[in-house]
Structures are given as structure tokens and as C-alpha cells.
Symmetry: C2
Subunit: 130 residues, 2 copies
């Protein structure tokens, strides 16, 4: 509100969008959508892995040895529903399933970068005087 319909539509922006002024967390808020996609342990590590290219179930399991099959499966399904990645089953034997980021999934790169930068700065200024 208090927006004057000025001419910078290239900045859709948090402050000028009515969806930013919700009084409670709603799934339609873009920020909630993004956080929902990243929600859950291991999720960001999986995305990092897939930013390097497509991976199979086993490759992901090897990259993240502590992650259990069940949770890995859960995360991949969740990221699929969020539009972050797609599954590609290769027919034949042994069965292989490749996971690949969608274009939208690749766009999480800058998001993770923003989170990284903030977290790195937070770490640095941990015991600064305010």
C-alpha cells in the first residue's frame, strides 16, 4: 500500500504486492511457496547435487550416505511436486531412474546463493557489537 503506481514494473517487489500483506502464513504467498520447496532436511543438499547435472537414485544415495532410502524417496517426490525436478525412468534392466532439475529448479541456484551469502555474513558478524 501507499504505492503510487510509479513506473518501475521491472521490480515486482515484496513491498508493492498485495500478497505481501497477508496476516497469516498462506500457501499462495510466493515466499511460502519457495520455502515450502526448500522445506525439510537434506533438501538443499539434494538440489546442490542436482545443480551439477542429472543423477540416479543410487548416485544421490552415494553422495549423501547418511540419508536413508525412505527420506531420499520422500524428498525426491516432494521436489517433483514442487516443480523442481523431473524423473526419467530408463526401461530395461537394471532399472535406473534419473533425476534432473527443471528450468525452474535451476533457478534455485541464485536463491541458494542468496541464502549462502546471508548465512556467511551472519557467521562472520556473530559476536559483533550491534
Amino acid at each position: 500500500m501507499t504505492h503510487q503506481t510509479v513506473g518501475h514494473p521491472a521490480r515486482p517487489g515484496l513491498p508493492d504486492d498485495p500478497r505481501a500483506y497477508v496476516a497469516e502464513p498462506t500457501p499462495s504467498c510466493p515466499v511460502e511457496i519457495a520455502l515450502a520447496a526448500l522445506r525439510g532436511r537434506w533438501t538443499t543438499l539434494l538440489i546442490r547435487e542436482l545443480l551439477g547435472g542429472e543423477r540416479t537414485f543410487t548416485e544421490l544415495r552415494q553422495a549423501l550416505p547418511v540419508l536413508s532410502d525412505k527420506v531420499l524417496s520422500d524428498r525426491l517426490a516432494h521436489l517433483g511436486e514442487a516443480g523442481v525436478l523431473t524423473r526419467h525412468r530408463r526401461p530395461g534392466w537394471p532399472p535406473r531412474t534419473y533425476y534432473r532439475l527443471t528450468p525452474q529448479g535451476h533457478r534455485l541456484g541464485p536463491v541458494l546463493q542468496a541464502l549462502w551469502d546471508w548465512g556467511a555474513a551472519a557467521d562472520r558478524s556473530e559476536d559483533d557489537p550491534l
Copy 2:
């Protein structure tokens, strides 16, 4: 890995930092630090509110009427420990406590913007062909 020690240190970057190659979620990873700060329902809405300037406990409660006192108190304490905001008690009666973002807290603006942009794009391309 496969980084060639090239000359662009201005991009601390996710791919070139050893902390990005953890095999399990660790609290020292900057991405985890940032997500930990944003963790929890209502958190981003509180930050949005404080991006507009300092607020008292009651003002925040009025802005987010559905949020219970206990959770509001929890969130504020959590954000304080994360270095996002500081408390300022005004002596006298009635007691008032003002909450204000730290410089580091203000830097969450761009982070929320990145999340917003991604979520808005995800919303738009919800049923696109991949």
C-alpha cells in the same frame, strides 16, 4: 572441486567453497544458518513487519492477530539469537519492548526478495510443459 583458483574472489559462491560439499546437513553451512534463521511458521511475516521499522510486542500482535502470544514470544527470541533483531525495553509504565532489525536482519530483505521472485515464477509456471 575442479576449481582452478581463478581470479574472481568477488564471487565467494556456492560451488567453490568447501563448506558446500558436506555430506550431511551441518549447522556450520551458511545455507543452513540462513534457513535456520527463517525457520518456523510466521517468521518471515514478522521480518516483513520489522522491515518497515521497529515495532512493539503489541503492534506485532495486532499485525498478526492469529499468532498466539507464546509463538510470537518464541519467534522473537529465536530471531534475537539468530542475530536478526534486538530488543529494547523502555523503562517505566506501561512496560514497552521495541523490536528492531539489526543490520544483518535488514540484509534479509534481498533474501526474501529472492525467495519471493522464485515463488512467484513457480506459481506462474505451475502447469507448464517441462
